[in-house]
Symmetry: C2
Subunit: 554 residues, 2 copies
């Protein structure tokens, strides 16, 4: 599809979902990509590790792609890059910390050759016909930016993920002035973060958590163990400051948080007073009231450090009465039960646990309704596209935009793959669509698990499998060996011998019947075994295991 004279904005991810954020912006033969994130799989994606966007459209137009521009260093914005960059050799632009975190990730994937270009604020990038500049936003990771893109027919403002923190930890307030200038110059279209569009009011400042830490540190008489998102560097900084204030040493444990602290310190995003950090292997040398342990596992992830501690299975840290564990995070939807289990286990070990039910132990990184309105009023866009959210979030954000005076027909609640077309005359959702969707990553396989495999895994997970093997004479169809039956995940076989013997009998009957009727076609024999056995098992157990008849010919 040609786009001469037309500006196309095409979301490839992040609409109607939380995660795998990716937006394509095209004018003529220049394509610019904003973000390239992953998503963690929904429960029904059995066995899947991560989900990344389908980039067929970019591969089809690979010679037009001028670069990928990143808003910040979270997984849902950079996590698909190791996979996408294997297919697309383009430069990646971002702020210093964002690229620092990406570099670590690329190293782990053994991809050192990618071209990474650090962009500073006020610097103007030229990518094809686009002029691109970053503006500072507040978010739950430092060095987060929104992106202003000057296209031949008008300016596009993309907020990335953001909140408005009037008292940020690093003192770097969101760049309202630049947004106000954009608004005065005239903005064609605004794309803005919808994650918290359901929440009225304002999101609290990160500083609130610091006050809670302070209260906690004042009261705690033993060790303090704080679990939070590894990338929340401001949160880590606040914990470190509190430790310093209350005369405690800090040990960091958990691969991701160790990496982040190292990178953030190297790049100057975290301040570590000399001598404060101690090795996790040395913690027994310090009295409990002189220690803080910073760690991961705030989502109850099975292999994380905090979960291991809760299960009494951590190499260095044994949780005990007197310990105070602070879970400085809210459970991401879907993780509620895992987090609750961790809390219960920690309580059972005798620790005091401070968690979500307590106010001020966590604040969101995303803007609530009043912040969203402020941005809309500052930027005064002609058109508006809510991004980053499930459908209900986008709808709520669209309504908020209409409240601020943007006419309904200028607000686009879009889907991944839709082409939103802007010209000097107007804007509309184009009729066509580009290929979009999800690519499933399972182990080393990228895209080799699809609906058929998932459907099979689901059936296997619910009722198990029953395998029937029989060897027959190729000429006569006579049974030479078997039928043998093997089952897994269906019933505990030792206690169900009678059922299994009956099942074998049904198979024999089905085979006999086939033989009598001269059925020696594999497919027919298999179907008849599958039907007879399936019916029998359902009657007896109300379960539908997968039935795999295997016929060997001799």
């Amino acid at each position: 599809m040609s786009s001469n004279g037309k500006l196309h904005i095409i979301p490839l991810g992040g609409l109607g979902e939380i995660g795998k954020n990716m937006t394509v912006i095209r004018y003529g033969s220049d394509i610019l990509v904003v973000d390239c994130g992953l998503k963690f799989p929904e429960d029904e994606l059995l066995g899947i590790d991560i989900v990344i966007p389908d980039i067929s459209y970019l591969k089809e137009n690979r010679e037009m792609v001028r670069g990928i521009v990143l808003t910040h260093g979270h997984e849902d914005h950079i996590g698909a890059l190791p996979y996408v960059l294997k297919e697309l050799n383009v430069p990646v632009y971002g702020t210093q910390l964002t690229l620092g975190l990406l570099k670590q990730k690329l190293t782990e994937h053994e991809m050192p050759e990618v071209e990474l270009r650090t962009v500073s604020f006020k610097e103007e990038l030229r990518l094809g016909c686009f002029k691109v500049e970053f503006f500072r936003v507040s978010h739950s990771i430092p060095d987060s930016v929104g992106i202003a893109i000057h296209s031949p027919i008008g300016m596009i403002v993309h907020t990335g993920d953001f909140k408005i923190d009037q008292t940020p930890i690093d003192g770097e307030v969101m760049d309202f002035h630049r947004l106000a200038e954009f608004g005065n110059q005239g903005v064609l279209v605004l794309l803005s973060d919808s994650t918290n569009a359901e929440r009225p009011g304002f999101t609290l400042s990160e500083r609130v958590v610091g006050e809670t830490f302070d209260n906690t540190f004042r009261k705690a008489s033993g060790r303090i163990i704080i679990a939070t998102f590894a990338s929340n560097i401001h949160r880590l900084q606040q914990a470190i400051k509190a430790a310093e204030r209350y005369g405690r040493q800090v040990a960091v444990v958990g691969r991701s948080v160790e990496n982040v602290v190292r990178i953030a310190e190297e790049l100057g995003y975290i301040k570590l007073p000399p001598g404060l950090l101690v090795d996790i292997g040395d913690i027994s040398r310090y009295p409990p009231e002189r220690l803080v342990i910073l760690t991961t596992g705030s989502q109850g992830e099975p292999m994380s450090a905090l979960t291991r501690m809760a299960m009494g299975d951590h190499r260095w840290v044994e949780v005990m009465p007197g310990d105070t564990v602070v879970i400085s995070a809210l459970p991401i939807p879907g993780n509620e039960k895992m987090v609750a289990r961790t809390i219960d286990l920690l309580f059972k070990l005798g620790a005091e646990v401070i968690y979500e039910a307590m106010l001020g132990i966590h604040v969101s990184g995303h803007a609530s309704q009043e912040e969203l309105k402020l941005i809309l009023n500052l930027v005064k866009p002609k058109y508006f596209i809510p991004i980053h959210g499930e459908y209900r979030h986008l709808i709520k954000h669209a309504r908020i935009a209409q409240c601020t005076g943007i006419p309904q027909q200028n607000v686009f609640v879009a889907e991944n793959g839709q082409i939103l077309e802007f010209t000097r005359k107007g804007a509309a959702a184009a009729n066509g669509r580009v290929t979009s969707g999800r690519v499933l990553v399972d182990g080393l396989g990228v895209g080799d698990v699809g609906n058929i495999v998932l459907r099979d895994r689901k059936q296997l997970s619910e009722d198990g499998i029953m395998i029937v093997v029989v060897t027959i004479n190729k000429e006569t169809g006579a049974v030479l060996a078997g039928p043998d039956i093997v089952s897994r995940g269906f019933v505990y076989v030792r206690e169900s011998e009678h059922l299994m013997e009956e099942a074998r009998e049904r198979v024999r009957q089905a085979l006999d019947k086939g033989e009598g009727q001269g059925v020696t076609e594999w497919a027919a024999i298999k179907n008849s075994v599958r039907d007879a056995l399936g019916k029998f098992l359902f009657e007896r157990t109300r379960r539908r295991p997968m039935i795999i008849p295997i016929v060997m010919e001799l």
Copy 2:
């Protein structure tokens, strides 16, 4: 274990978990059981339908069991009865509605012969050495009671599930007076509902939801569809009243809510103005602004009416722009994503959706901290056992009890199966334990799925299965047919032919090696195939499918 002169309180379920509530009370050779509930399975219980308590202890002492006393008609208090009553022939006591709902359930299980005895308030039951009376509590189902049990060594008060609703819909306030009398007479031990022990303050009155309904009805111009818990009869009553007030007909759809409305009307727990109810098949005869549809699916359950409507797959109701859908419930932990998906789909169909984020659309049926304190202060028990809750809820409730002045050593945070022993001299957790735990129900199977089957289902669900079949000569060990490989849930085979061919080759090598070394033992051949293939597949895919080698001898 003898318990002469001793009172034993033994929780068989509901401690350290939400659901399968069941408490055993024993004095000498008299056993009384309070409630007999089910639990819905955790995610890791793949394929399991429901979980019920292990009643080995009751079966071992079946001649002592005087009866099962029910506090109310929710599944987590009565849902295990159809299974338990098959093993234990004892009378069941409860209020009229509770037994009405149980009767329906027993009819579905074709168990009409169970002895059900309706108990009224102020009636005194004699069960062995126990005198038992019911006292009224507020909860999210009518006819809920707490139970006072007079034992030879003192009174036991069991709250059941409760909240304190000062303005209940049916005007029947919790029986504070009786509780105050108990407190004055002296209560040995209180067992109290801990579900909401994390929540400060008071739980809102059910009446609040009526006000929200009123606002919603006033604004809605099209149909109103309300989904709530089928058993929340007061909620249904409020919806019906609002419908009447605003001149709308009511259609009820969904098997469970249809059953509840029928039973509640028969027994007089719901008032239906004549002519208000219309058949769901007739709704097209009424203009949208004259209709309310009451339905199920507030938890996003896959087969429920609301979920079907959201998926455009319901026989009678097609959701359309103009419809207002009210989801009058909070997602139970674990259901958040399913509920969110339903909301998104309803928005996509153009409906207005009113859901959890809006205040006043749902209130809890369980007491918050201030209510728990009030009960503790009224009842003034010597000993306290927090029940009905995960471990952290029990801990919080224990702390609340200590705040009201009960000494720490008189508060027992117990586990299922623990024996709490009370004598005239004191109380303690006994050293012994009774058998307790979970029994898994899968289809018609009760207890035939255990850890081995679940472990297999888990492996199958994550990486699928690979079956290797080979026919060998029994005498020589020579391969006569195969190896054939069949996989399911592992990779999409058509796109992985090369991998499968290589896998077959590895199996051949393993077989050859075995043959050369004279290995004709099945077990050895199987192990060698499993090892070789497992190693190969992990190297190539980082997945660990279940590998089932099947050797047929001829």
